[in-house]
Each structure stands twice: as C-alpha cells, then as structure tokens.
Subunit: 197 residues, 2 copies
C-alpha cells in the first residue's frame, strides 16, 4: 500500500468512529460487506473509486480534488466543520434522551429523580461532550429504545441516571474550552514559484 492512500483511508475510519457507527452498520448502509470495510480501514487493499464514494456518502462526506496550494485553507475549513459536526451530534443525542425520558409512563424509580435528570440534561445539552460522555448518553438512549423504560430493571436505570449526574458534575467543575474565535486560514498568500521548461 502506498503511503498517500492512508491519508484518505484514515479519514474514513475516523469519520465512522466519530459518528459512533459500527462497521456492520456502515456495511448495511453502503452494501459493502463488513469484512471489506475492515480490510479497507486496515490499509490492506487499494479500493476502487466506487467503493470510496459509497463509504464517503454514507458518512456525509464528499471526495474532492483540491489544488495543492489551496490545501491549508481547505483543511482549516474542514476541521472547523468537523468540530461543529461533533457538537451538533451530541446535542441531538442529548435532546433525544430528554424527550425519551419525558415521555415515559410508570417508572420503577421516583418521579422526582427523573425530573432532576431532565434538568441536568437541559444543561448538558449546551456543552460539547467528550467521546466517553457522548457514549454514555448513547447507551442510555439505546436501553430506552429497547425496553420502553417502565418495564426496565431499576438497577440498570439507576446506573444510567447516575452517569448523567456524573457528566453534569464534570461539566460544572471542569468546563471544556470554547471554540477558537477565528479560524486561521488565509486566501491571500502569494508565493512565486518558478516553472521553466
């Protein structure tokens, strides 16, 4: 495998992981078999363009040809978009959990606890979350989706609620830094290169 290819491949893998998507889920969205995706990500194949495009589109990405001299500017914009992508994803996940909690009927635990958790979520929603924090929220969502919450094991439910409290405390005592105010790309550099034949 060529070294230049890893760049693309690594970006695809990172994009999948950032979305919390498994290889099998990506497989079902693209039609590519899961083992193929594994091979691809490990850099042991030289994929065809159609495979790349299929994967990229399933991950909300496009393949673009960029003039070398425009690379710095483009990369700055891409990174900035990725940052926002993450925060949007987490916010959506948090809101989803809140609405799921709000709409449950009888619960195996006191109502007040649920309400308190909802308040915490309303705060959490406005922060960028770490990968671990996001994962915790997603797992809570997963169990609620499966079990409809009123027929849920009280211990399990309590564990998840505790993890929400934990996240709130982390954010309150150790808030993540805000986004940098201005991205540092430039359109107006002007180097001269000689090009004689």
């Amino acid at each position: 495998m060529n070294h230049a290819l890893d760049h693309i491949v690594a970006a695809l893998k990172a994009a999948r992981e950032k979305k919390g998507m498994s290889q099998r889920e990506l497989s079902s969205r693209t039609g590519l078999p899961q083992p193929k995706i594994s091979n691809l990500e490990s850099g042991s194949v030289d994929p065809r363009l159609s495979s790349l495009v299929a994967l990229a589109r399933a991950l909300d990405l496009e393949i673009e040809l960029v003039p070398r001299r425009a690379l710095p500017a483009v990369e700055t914009i891409v990174r900035s978009a990725e940052r926002r992508e993450v925060t949007k994803t987490t916010a959506n996940e948090v809101r989803k959990l809140a609405s799921a909690l709000q709409s449950i009927g009888r619960t195996p635990i006191p109502r007040g606890i649920i309400d308190q958790t909802l308040n915490q979520l309303r705060m959490i929603e406005h922060f960028p979350l770490s990968a671990e924090q996001l994962e915790a929220i997603q797992k809570f969502n997963a169990v609620l989706k499966l079990s409809d919450a009123d027929e849920l094991d009280p211990a399990t439910l309590n564990r998840h609620i505790k993890s929400v409290s934990g996240i709130r405390n982390q954010l309150a005592h150790n808030p993540p830094p805000a986004l940098p105010p201005r991205p540092a790309y430039s359109l107006d550099d002007d180097e001269e290169e000689e090009d004689n034949a």
Copy 2:
C-alpha cells in the same frame, strides 16, 4: 459507471487540459499507460485509489474528504485557487516568451519589430488570458524552443509576432473583468437538521 464518480474524473481531465498537458505527457509523469488515462477520462473504468492519487499528484492536486456541509466553502476556495493558478501560468508563459525573444542574436526580421513585440508582451503579462490567447503564446514559445529563432522561417516568425499584436489589441480594447473582490463563502451558517433513529 456511477454518476458520482464522473465528478472526480471530469475534474482530473479538466485539470490536465488547463495545464496544457497531453495524455502522453501525463502518462510519462505518472507511469500509467496513456490508453489507461484515456479510458479513465472517458469514464469507462472504476479506477483504484492509487491510480487516482498518482494522477492527482502529477497535476498538483490532492484528494480530500470533505464534510457535506463544508462543501460550499471548500468549493469557493478551490475555484479561487484555480483562477489564480491560471493567471500565474499565463504570466509565466508570457515572461518565458519575452526572455526568449530578448536573447536571440541575428534575426530574419528588423530589430525594431522585435522590440515592439517585447513592449507588447510587457503589457500582456499583467492580464489573465483566454485559452486561445494562452495557446498562441505557448505555440510561439514552442517554435522558439525548437529552432533558436535566427534560423527561423521569416514568414512563420512574422505570423507569431502578428498574433502577439492581436492579443495586445484585444486586451486593450476589450479588457477581461478583474477578479471578484471577495469570495462568498461563509463559515457561520447554522441550519438545523433533524436526525432521529
């Protein structure tokens, strides 16, 4: 062939043509056989990533994965870079011609004509040229490179000199528009998309 692939392929072909590079020249730079490049550009194959990367690099391009929401901004930057690429190329070509003319010894035509042409070139250098105009300059360069100019057919030389005058007159009477003052990309849009599972 998939429709999504044409986008990349067409961009590669356009980039090659804009640089005035023949398929054979690109072939020798990349190691890919010329018929393969022809197939590729005609969209009749589904190339492997390594082929794409080889072609792209020979054309001063990089393959990048861009989040869909960042596409408008990225495309604006790419286009802006391409515009500057073109004007830089033409300026180089014009300067090359000027220096070639300046350094010729005995000429089959009056010295004053040569000097007048040099003056015209000094003006032309500062304009973005059309494809046809650029081509004319390149052809003049080509014959000078081959024949060392003092052993040149006077008629041929005169024809090229006339074409330079023609370009100057076109530019003087019908100047091309300047570049737009500010590219219209934005980093601060904020649409909401729903994403429920």
